[in-house]
């Protein structure tokens, strides 16, 4: 320092000056408590850019930003600037903003193909991390169109297809890429992954087919068994409408056609009660059976009534030990009960011999199953209600 030779004075002045430093803070000093915050406001030291740049609060930053968006530069320069801006946002994981920047860059429509390909590829990456797979895929495709050897675009295209579970698509992207870059590890890895997942998916589809076939066969066997026994299934309203044109009105013919056409799914009982007739390992059928007690407006549902069991078998258990709570008069005792089924076409009631098997009854000429579920009316023999109920109806007694 070229200090004038002033002897003791300048030295004292220097000392004084130095002393001041220790005592006084210099102007515009950073405060000890908030210096970090202050630091962050200086554009050069900012760690992250603020969401919105207010020119009043942050004139320096606003100034810098306007340089980026300055229209005096060439489209290429502007696009490049926007690309960089997008990349910065991307690094901060602010993908939405980066998409905006990249889009602006693409809008400049500059002549630099590679730059545009990069803009598309980077935007694809941003969409990818945002979870917008289709947009990402479109951008990757656009990038590849501009620059077919842009490996990052190809990798991105493959990754998007993988997320979209389009395994064949992944293989196509990878194979295209591997033609140009046969040793690219990322492409090889993606290809192997997609191949494995595709084979798993193929297996799942085969498994489902096998299962469906099995169910189909079981249905067929069940229908065949029912038909073999001569049990007549009545069409539900739905299926009646489907086949009504060709059906003849003759009871017997119509019923047998009903048998041929009926799908077990048309059996409404499945919806109502969740139960359906099934065939066990010995080939014995088990039916869901409804017992109706019109006197008390009650019903009982037996989910699996074995066709070889007799009615008394069930009634003895149902009414043997304890009588149901609705039986206020305590008269529904097994030995007093009478069961009837109704002929849905003619309205006649047929009494059931309680010792006979369900199968026997189902095979009765006038027994038709509605919605695949047999139902029986239960009355107490000799009761007032039963006399009232049966009067006016044609009743066929059992022997």
């Amino acid at each position: 320092m070229a200090a004038p030779a002033q002897g003791e004075d300048s030295d004292d002045g220097m000392d004084e000056f130095m002393e001041k430093f220790k005592a006084q803070k210099y102007k515009n000093a950073f405060n000890e408590s908030n210096w970090e915050e202050e630091f962050n406001k200086v554009p050069m030291f900012m760690k992250t850019a603020p969401e919105n740049i207010d020119p009043e609060k942050n004139p320096d930053l606003a100034c810098i930003q306007s340089i980026i968006h300055d229209d005096d530069r060439t489209p290429e320069e502007q696009a490049r600037g926007l690309k960089d801006e997008g990349n910065d946002y991307f690094k901060e994981k602010n993908y939405k903003k980066s998409v905006v920047s990249y889009t602006e860059g693409l809008k400049k429509n500059c002549m630099d193909l590679e730059l545009n390909a990069i803009l598309y590829t980077n935007r694809a990456a941003a969409h990818f991390y945002l979870g917008n797979m289709r947009s990402a895929l479109n951008d990757a495709t656009a990038a590849k169109k501009l620059k077919p050897d842009h490996v990052k675009a190809i990798i991105r295209g493959a990754q998007c297809s993988l997320e979209l579970r389009n395994y064949v698509g992944v293989l196509q992207w990878c194979d295209e890429g591997l033609k140009l870059f046969p040793t690219d590890k990322k492409l090889l890895e993606l290809r192997a992954t997609a191949d494995k997942l595709k084979r798993e998916a193929d297996k799942d589809s085969r498994k489902a087919k096998v299962k469906a076939k099995k169910e189909q066969n079981e249905k067929k066997a069940l229908l065949a068994a029912i038909k073999e026994r001569g049990i007549k299934l009545l069409k539900t309203e739905l299926s009646r409408h489907r086949g009504s044109d060709s059906e003849d009105d003759d009871g017997h013919g119509g019923a047998s056609r009903a048998l041929a056409d009926l799908e077990l799914d048309g059996m409404g009982s499945q919806e109502a009660t969740g139960a359906r007739v099934f065939m066990d390992e010995q080939g014995v059928l088990h039916w869901p059976v409804l017992f109706l007690y019109p006197e008390h407006n009650q019903t009982d549902f037996i989910s699996a009534f074995c066709e070889n069991s007799s009615f008394m078998d069930h009634l003895a258990v149902m009414f043997g030990e304890e009588l149901p709570p609705w039986d206020t008069e305590r008269k529904y005792q097994p030995q007093n009960l009478q069961l009837f089924f109704e002929d849905p076409e003619k309205g006649h009631l047929y009494q059931v011999d309680l010792e006979t098997s369900l199968l026997n009854v189902l095979q009765h000429q006038r027994c038709f199953l509605k919605a695949g579920s047999p139902s029986f009316i239960v009355l107490v023999s000799g009761s007032l209600f039963s006399k009232q109920f049966l009067s006016g109806k044609k009743v066929k007694r059992s022997k």
Binding site: D195, R206, K207, K209
Partner: protein
Amino acid sequence: MLSDGEAAELLSFLNLETRADLKGQASEYVLGLTGNRDGCRYLQSKPDFLQALVTLTSDPSIAIVKDCFHALINLSADETLHQPLVTETVLLAKLLPKLLDPEYVFADRICTILSNLSRHERTCRDVFRALQEQDIGLDRLVEVFCNQGFNKKASLHYLGPLLSNLTQLPEARLFILDKDRCVIQRLLPYTQYEESSTRRGGVVGTLRNCCFDHAHHEWLLSDAVDIIPYLLLPLAGPEELSEEENEGLPVDLQYLPEDKKREEDPDIRKMLLETLILLTATRLGRQIMKDKNVYYIMREFDRWEKDPYVTSACEKLVQVLIGDEPEEGMENLMEVDIPKDVQEKLIELDAKEQEQMEKDEQEQMEKDKQEQMEKDKQESEKKPKQSPEGLER
């Protein structure tokens, strides 16, 4: 054959500049020569003729080109012609570039010639070297092979056997077994390519050759390649396995549909089994095959297979699958030292087995003949008899 004078005259007609009708007749004549062994042997000592044929493949007349290719195919089928064809003519230099030309109508014929020429090691080396000189890597061959529709006029099925032949050379196998590329993986699905047994056979042959190098087994058996399902699928049938058995199999073999067909060519079936047997050479290979329940597939296959040669291979494989692990020092079956007396005994057993198989084959043929005769007899008995003596065979 031809006198020297006649030969010289004929040769003079086999020229691009010659009048079309003379050229045509000359090439037809040479084609005729190649139709039998003597003709081929005669031409073996006539490199000028061989070269003329090669040159005339560029002739503007399609008929002549066809004849020349046909002749070359015939010649290449004869091993004694291999060296003359590659050393005394420019066949390889001229035809290789056209092999992978997507517009070239005769690409299939070139394929066939190359596949013939590469059959035996010596000329195979020449073919391989020529491919390299033309900058046609094996990965490029595989790429074209796997690109159906690459050449609209040529199916290129014979690239399969070509690849298979080339892989008898260790240097060729290195290309196919490149871990840093996707090469062998592309070939695997073709073990089930229904449209062409040539293609299928070529691929299976290639895979079998690649399995000779047991250093690569671990990689081949790993997920990176996963070779086993592709070897098993052609051998697996529509038989229903229980859910438990299914779940233990590799994914690709689970829940196969009821119309699943097995490989119909017994030679290919045998090659598949041989490849699987090769893969049991290492302890790891045996372990993996046991873990993947390969046995279930072999069990059903054994019940189905009728050909005695194939059955024999199947039984060998099954023995390894259900057998105990060999003792210490014997884990790699390929490296075991077999004592001389045991060797002799094994050779004897092999000979006996061979005899037995030939006997079985004879018996089977006799049985089939017998059955056919019975059938014919029954058929004729249904029709009114012309002569009371019965069938005339």
